[in-house]
């Protein structure tokens, strides 16, 4: 390696360290994600959101499903859980019910959350469970070899659709809003500042929060579709994305090369599951209702 790489400019303080390092398990780096994969960028934003929102890290847990994004739980320096395929949300729901003091973050991919886990997603949103869901949407099942996902846009070529995808896709913000989510936003990995801000808002918001982050998949999606590398995807996000905060979610459908509507679409207050549960029990049982004891240890 040439000396230029190791050149340390004289004004750099010796104690300078990457601000995200305390939030990540740096002993596990380098991570498994491909060069240019956007998941690392979203984790970077998540670490900054943890820092800026000043949540209690001892009471914050992260749950992932299976897939490329499912590996996030293994890299976050929080209590983290890598669950079975599609079951991140039910696992998170159980944890929230067992210990309502926890901040529960579900961090998973589009295949995990919307294909096998689709039903869990809509029911958690309907109940307004107080969990925060981050979906990294790379448009494909990446870890298993590039199969068609429910989010793969039309005419894309995938390993299971060599003549092009012909199925309509899910519009994730519309699905989340219709199911009852309290907070719905969409950004791309180009919008790093906005992602970090949205995640910070999400950590402070009560109720079911959903953030979709469009991310490049250079190895399996773009290569097969001749869409260039990750940098080309980022340039496309920069040019094609249009910030429309509060836009009706019916207008946010994604296509292969068309406009990407990004922004915060929904921010509303609904009573969350635990509040509704308590109100119903108190109204029926009156004095006979006692709050369940929190059996979790203080650690």
């Amino acid at each position: 390696m040439s000396d230029t790489l190791l050149e340390v400019l004289p004004e750099i303080p010796e104690d300078a360290h990457n601000p995200v390092e305390p939030f990540l398990r740096m002993d596990r780096m380098p991570h498994i994600w491909c060069p240019g994969c956007g998941i690392g960028t979203t984790v970077n934003c998540f670490a900054r959101a943890l820092q800026s929102s000043q949540v209690d890290l001892k009471k914050t847990v992260i749950v992932s499903g299976i897939g490329c994004t499912g590996r996030v739980a293994g890299y976050a320096n929080l209590d983290s859980f890598h669950t079975t395929h599609g079951r991140a949300i039910p696992f998170a729901t159980g944890m929230k019910l067992a210990n309502p003091e926890l901040n529960v973050v579900v961090y998973s991919g589009d295949g995990d959350l919307f294909a096998i886990g689709g039903n869990h997603f809509i029911h958690a949103a309907r109940r307004n469970m107080d969990i925060k869901v981050v979906c990294v949407n790379n448009m494909i099942y990446a870890m298993t070899g590039g199969q068609t996902a429910p989010t793969t846009p039309g005419t894309s070529v995938t390993s299971t659709a060599p003549y092009g995808v012909y199925e309509p896709t899910f519009n994730l913000p519309a699905l989340a809003e219709a199911a009852g989510a309290s907070y719905v936003a969409r950004w791309t990995t180009f919008h790093v500042k906005q992602v970090a801000k949205s995640m910070e808002e999400m950590m402070k918001k009560k109720g079911f929060c959903f953030i979709e982050i469009i991310s490049p998949c250079p190895t399996l999606y773009q290569r097969r579709n001749k869409m260039g590398d990750a940098l080309d995807a980022m340039k496309y996000y920069k040019e094609a994305s249009k910030v429309r905060n509060g836009a009706p979610t019916s207008e946010t459908t994604l296509s292969k090369t068309g406009e990407i509507v990004v922004g915060k679409f929904v921010d509303r207050d609904r009573p969350d599951y635990l509040e509704v549960l308590k109100a119903q029990m108190v109204s029926v049982l009156g004095d006979r209702y006692t709050e369940p004891e929190n059996s979790c240890c203080e650690c």
């Binding site: 190791l6 990457n18 790093v192």
Partner: protein, 72 residues
């Protein structure tokens, strides 16, 4: 005197080029040299222009670079 500086962990870099492309003041360029995994990490070509905004650090998917402002 630059307002900020960047620190690069060349060995962690996978050469995606996000930091080079999106640096607002064009401080970085991909080096012609390789790291031990065969990627071209970025190096500083314009250290005077660095504002220490840390946008490179936010874009980096590999946590291999960050920027910070100088104390003064």
């Amino acid at each position: 005197m630059a307002k900020g500086f960047v620190v690069i962990s060349a060995e962690r870099c996978k050469g995606c080029g996000f930091c080079v492309e999106f640096c607002p003041t064009k401080v970085l360029a991909l080096a012609s040299a390789f790291n031990s995994k065969g990627y071209h990490p970025p190096h500083v070509v314009n250290s005077d222009k660095c504002s220490g905004c840390d946008l490179c650090g936010m874009y980096c998917p590999d946590f291999a670079i960050f920027g910070a402002r100088n104390a003064r």
